[in-house]
């Protein structure tokens, strides 16, 4: 690890890209085409290397992964001026581990489709321009907009970038900063806020003896998967907790569950009420912690009713209740597939009710430890922001809109006609590394440097134990001299706008200054705070977590409608491979088979064998999934991990732009979503779309890894019962 107190800036300045063996990359000679003739390769020496730089020996530098909003700490292996490999930073939330997206974030950095210079729309198409011209265009179009007529539309932002962005908005006289993430936990946050008094509390999976998760894919896409995986390992050792997952389509977490229960989409809340009913009526769990209104609702949902509504059998309900009753403390979570419905708020509320009923609050759910500096905290995304933004744009509210770190034209349902509405914005600026679907519609494109080329601070939205500021430092020289870091651009815009107090030569200088001004409680006693933080990759600020309240809201459930012409539920599932589509341009991610279906490089629809039999389709047959907003044709994968009434199509593929690896690859289920909205939180109910499926008659082999779905009687993975495990390895 980097044990050197160094000035990274100088290091990079003096280090020629590639260092020794720069002209041809070492390791790239092909075994069959070897030349060892003299004078065929070039060697460039260092100009003036740092003491610790030894060619041929890798150094590790800390940074932060920006591939998803979790913000895991990483160590990057740097050799001869190139970053080669990322590993988890053991001292941060994610520990040693790093998920596949984090591993592949290197390919974001080295991507061949990165934008290498500013581009402006001229005569209908984007053409490269110089930075001078770009700044001029920006000044002309954005410099003198009226107050309040500009907006930022970004993904999750935190740290000093958020500070600068806020300052910039202020200078423009606008309050409008929309933070949009297609994969979010916004409904859950709203319920947490209402019930617990805190939007993102700390979950202690490792302390739970049983976890019941309603569609919260905490090993895959929910909140902070790598951190949860680490806790999950603890949860599974010793006395081994029991994991139950209730959802319409098997997620990665579901695949690891002891009990995976398929519930009709949108009925997770009903299942939760049913479990509560069993707990109270059969197990004499005292309902006194719940308000009477809640108990009345629970009483309505006896086993038969729950079975009728959700399709979850009485036996399953009783077993789940038994597990929860017998293993305390437990933890009940709710996620994507429960939240993203018209009744998502009630679903999440019902799940939260179980936590209160079982007395988990304060044991496995705790107050989190927010960073004391409010302005550095993460602004987490929601799809409500997208809806509001679309509305505002449609109303012609903005003259200038800045996009950064999000691709709404890909993730927004076609029904919203976001593209059409965006046409009403005269000047759209996209700050992006790639020509994604949104950037292609921009009037001005400013090329960003990659997270591994820039200085940055960020704050992870999920701060369970210790609040921390994550530090990013450049792991190598920028690949292109024409890209700029987001921080530098913000600073530049502030300067162009003539805002006082931002007279720094670079974002790096600003950051050093800003870090220096952090309160002493955060800075601690380090001799050289800056160097120490950069070297460690984080600044930790321990504080007592707040305490949580338990104000349960309304539990009454809305009946899921029958669907009429559209009897099936569309589940646009999320997974780690593609996330919301941002990973579609990474060849490693495309090449990785999906965790559950093992399909690669393509989209697929998951249906239950019974549904398939009814349609008469086999694996690889195309089905047409039709909603009131359009249809998509997609190949099917048939297995028993999806509810009979549901058809699951993973999101993330089907880009129209976004580089050679993403373009034209698969279909985008988000494109046919109906505009269903969860009324309480205002979120887009992405799982609320009803569809019909028909066979198209076309067939193409499904690109799927693995010749057999079962072990064909070999003992490759065998299963022992938890009882045996506890006997032999239990604590």
């Amino acid at each position: 690890m980097s044990g050197n107190d160094i000035n990274r800036r100088n290091f990079l300045k003096f280090m020629g890209l590639g260092g020794v063996g720069a002209a041809t990359l070492t390791g790239c000679d092909m075994p069959t085409t070897v030349t060892i003739e003299e004078g065929k390769e070039k060697v460039v020496s260092y100009l003036a290397p740092e003491e610790y730089v030894i060619p041929g020996i890798g150094n590790w530098f800390a940074s932060t992964c920006q591939q998803c909003p979790s913000g895991c700490g990483v160590h990057g292996r740097v050799r001869e001026g190139r970053v080669l490999k990322l590993e988890g930073n053991p001292e941060t939330l994610n520990g040693n581990g790093l998920c596949m997206m984090g591993q592949a974030s290197l390919q974001t950095h080295y991507n061949p489709d990165r934008i290498t210079q500013p581009m402006a729309r001229k005569g209908g198409s984007l053409v490269p321009v110089s930075w001078d011209e770009a700044w001029k265009l920006l000044q002309e179009n954005a410099g003198k907009v009226d107050a309040g007529r500009s907006a930022w539309f970004t993904g999750t932002v935190s740290g000093h970038q958020a500070v600068l962005l806020k300052a910039l908005n202020k200078a423009w006289g606008s309050q409008d900063h929309y933070v949009y993430e297609a994969i979010n936990n916004a409904v859950g946050e709203a319920v947490n806020e209402a019930v617990l008094g805190e939007a993102v509390p700390a979950y202690h999976l490792n302390k739970a003896k049983a976890i019941l998760s309603f569609g919260a894919d905490f090993l895959g896409t929910w909140v902070s998967p790598v951190h949860f995986a680490k806790q999950y390992a603890e949860f599974r050792t010793g006395d081994r907790g029991i994991l139950m997952q209730v959802e319409p389509k098997m997620s990665l977490t579901g695949a690891n569950a002891d009990m995976w229960v398929a519930a009709r989409p949108g009925t997770e809340g009903v299942v939760a009420l049913g479990i509560a009913n069993v707990l109270i009526s059969k197990h004499q769990v005292s309902g006194s912690v719940l308000p009477q209104a809640a108990l009345d609702v629970i009483a309505q949902y006896d086993v038969n009713k729950v079975t009728e509504v959700s399709g979850v059998s009485g036996d399953q309900l009783v077993r789940m209740a038994n597990y929860l009753r017998g293993n305390s403390p437990s933890l009940v979570l709710s996620g994507e597939s429960a939240h993203n419905h018209e009744n998502g708020y009630q679903n999440a509320m019902a799940a939260m009710m179980l936590n209160i009923l079982l007395g988990n609050v304060g044991k496995t759910i705790d107050g989190s430890n927010k960073l004391a500096v409010e302005e550095l905290q993460a602004k987490t995304g929601s799809s409500a922001a997208l809806l509001k933004f679309a509305e505002a744009v449609d109303a012609g509210k903005y003259d200038v809109v800045f996009f950064k770190g999000t691709n709404p034209l890909f993730t927004a349902p076609v029904a919203m006609d976001l593209a059409g509405k965006l046409a009403k914005v005269p000047f759209k600026v996209s700050l992006s590394m790639f020509l994604d679907d949104t950037t292609m519609q921009a009037d001005l494109v400013l090329p960003l440097s990659s997270p591994y080329e820039e200085w940055n601070t960020s704050v992870a939205p999920y701060q369970p134990v210790e609040a921390a500021i994550s530090m990013s430092q450049p792991l190598m020289n920028p690949l292109s001299s024409e890209t700029r870091s987001f921080g530098d651009l913000l600073l530049g815009m502030l300067k162009h706008h003539g805002v006082d107090g931002y007279d720094f030569p670079s974002y790096y200088a600003y950051l050093q200054d800003a870090m220096d001004k952090l309160p002493a409680s955060i800075k601690g006693s380090a001799v050289d705070f800056w160097a120490d933080s950069v070297q460690k990759g984080y600044v930790k600020a321990t504080a007592e977590g707040g305490s949580l309240t338990t104000k349960l809201g309304d539990l009454s459930q809305k009946a899921v409608d029958v669907g009429g012409d559209f009897p099936m539920h569309l589940v646009p599932s999320s997974n780690q491979t593609m996330w919301d589509g941002r990973n579609a341009n990474l060849p490693w991610m495309q090449e990785q088979p999906d965790q559950i279906s093992k399909v690669f490089w393509d989209s697929w629809a998951e249906i239950h064998p019974k549904t398939a039999a009814k349609l008469g389709v086999h694996e690889g047959d195309y089905i047409r999934i039709k909603s009131d907003q359009g249809s998509i044709d997609v190949k099917v994968y048939i297995y028993k991990g999806v509810h009979v009434d549901a058809v699951a199509v993973p999101m993330g593929r089907g880009h129209k732009e976004y580089g050679r690896y993403a373009k034209g690859n698969g279909v985008n289920p988000l494109s046919i979503l109906s505009e269903v909205i969860e009324p309480t939180s205002g979120e887009l109910a992405t799982h609320g779309t009803r569809v019909s499926i028909t066979k198209t008659g076309e067939h193409e082999e499904l690109p799927r890894l693995g010749g057999s779905e079962t072990q064909v009687g070999r003992r490759l993975v065998s299963t022992v019962s938890a009882e045996v495990f506890r006997r032999t390895e239990g604590a």
Binding site: T32, G707, R714
Partner: protein, 469 residues
């Protein structure tokens, strides 16, 4: 029923004349055949160049199907080569003199099919340009091939067998080459002068010739058996279900003789028809060949069934699954066709009327060989389709590159053979003369009754050696 297998009254000069006639004045049909073969070879050459440039990918080989048609066809051609040894060496030693008019082209077939077979292990290498690494040469790097690998044994076996069978072919041809020399002019005379090694046909030469010929025959028989046993070791030495089978060596040898004999019938009919060798390649000889083929077919069928049975009654689940997969898996149609061609079709050989009907025999012999080619494919591929590891189960269809090269290999063999029949006598003149001589002296009408060998005939007295000293 007894029919004369050769007319003993045939004049010796006519034998020379007939055989030498077959060597000259190629007709249009010959050139068409040559052109067709060259075309086939060009397909293969183009495919190979493409494969060399691009890699093994276009051949559709994949994980887990690392081997496919190349190895199957390699085994097929190696098998084909066993017929020549059978006819010339084994039948020579056991004294079946009806082989005499037909052994020459069978031997040529041996050599050429080996030349064809030898190409396949080379073609199938991912890095052809390093193929010489399998040979134990003294290297600057001080490294050696892995002598434990059956592929190395293959390299040794094939090169040895090729050398020996080519020698055997050549040595057996020397007296005939001398006849050619004496009758030829121009480049042919020069060629035959060199090749006949100064053969004068005197006593001493004949004595040496007989000895060396017998010696070579004795040497070749164990060699041939070992070669195909070694080829079978490519599979039998592995641990894959469906390959790791103890009975593979005899099974492969039987299969080899089987396909070789079937090929002999094919070529017999072709040569007889086009070169008008009716007087030498007579129906009775064909009948005997057919009977021999039938016997071998039955041995092969027996071994096939033994293989099934031993797997079925064995304890290895994976092997059993592999067997069942052959009968029911993706390649099952080919497997059933193979069983039909290999086990059912040869019963056609059991009927005299069919045996004596040339077109039927021609078609039947081709069917048998299709069966034998499929057999090799069905050994290689279904095992790779489903073996121990379910995650790697996969069905693969060979790509056009593989087909082109396999197709071309037949052209290559045909081309070599076509050249052979016009440059060298495809019927052994001196041995036919011997045969005629013997028939005249021992097999005349009354002698035939007296001396003709029959199993039931216990009154043999002074049966002369059919191979004169």
């Amino acid at each position: 029923m007894h029919t004369k297998d050769i007319n003993e009254n045939i004049a010796w000069a006519k034998i020379n004349e007939d055989v030498l006639r077959s060597m000259e004045n190629p007709r249009v049909g010959y050139w068409v055949a040559v052109a067709a073969c060259i075309l086939m070879v060009s397909c293969a050459v183009l495919a190979e160049i493409y494969q060399y440039q691009v890699g093994m990918g276009p051949s559709n080989l994949n994980w887990p199907h690392m081997w496919d048609l190349y190895i199957a066809t390699f085994v097929f051609w190696i098998g084909m080569s066993h017929s020549g040894t059978l006819l010339s060496a084994i039948l020579h030693i056991i004294g079946a003199d009806w082989r005499k008019p037909i052994y020459r082209f069978a031997e040529a077939m041996t050599t050429f099919s080996l030349l064809t077979a030898g190409l396949f292990p080379i073609i199938h290498l991912g890095r052809v340009w390093n193929m010489y690494w399998v040979l134990p040469y003294v290297s600057d790097r001080g490294i050696w091939p892995n002598f434990r690998s059956p592929l190395i044994w293959d390299a040794f076996a094939i090169t040895t067998y090729l050398t020996s069978s080519a020698m055997f072919l050549f040595i057996g041809m020397i007296p005939d080459l001398a006849i050619c020399r004496d009758n030829a002019r121009g480049w042919r005379q020069k060629l035959y002068t060199v090749l006949s090694l100064g053969w004068q046909g005197d006593d001493r030469q004949w004595r040496h010739f007989r000895r060396i010929y017998l010696l070579m025959a004795c040497f070749l028989i164990p060699l041939a058996v070992s070669v195909h046993s070694i080829v079978s070791a490519d599979f039998a030495m592995s641990i894959m279900p469906g390959w790791h089978i103890t009975s593979f060596p005899p099974y492969f040898v039987a299969g080899a003789l089987y396909s070789g004999c079937a090929a002999i019938i094919t070529l017999f009919i072709i040569l007889r028809y086009f070169f008008r060798f009716e007087e030498y390649m007579t129906i009775p000889i064909l009948e005997k060949t057919c009977k021999l083929t039938f016997a071998i077919a039955m041995v092969w069928s027996y071994l096939t069934l033994v293989e099934f049975a031993s797997v079925w009654y064995g304890h290895d689940m994976a092997s059993k699954e592999a067997l069942i997969a052959r009968f029911t898996g993706a390649y099952a149609p080919f497997f059933w066709v193979m069983l039909f061609c290999g086990i059912v079709a040869p019963f056609g050989l059991a009927f005299e009327r069919m045996r004596r009907h040339l077109p039927t025999m021609f078609v039947l012999s081709l069917i048998l060989n299709v069966g034998m080619w499929l057999e090799r494919w069905m050994i290689v591929t279904p095992t790779l389709e489903s073996s121990y590891y379910p995650f790697a189960f996969d069905t693969m269809w060979p790509g056009i590159v593989q087909w082109a090269i396999v197709f071309g290999s037949f052209g290559w063999f045909g081309l070599l053979f076509l050249i052979f029949v016009k440059v060298f006598p495809s019927v052994s003149m001196y041995e036919v003369k011997e045969m005629v001589f013997h028939r005249r002296h021992y097999h005349s009408e009354e002698q035939a009754v007296k001396f003709h060998r029959r199993a039931t005939d216990r009154q043999l007295t002074d049966q002369p050696g059919t191979e004169g000293a």
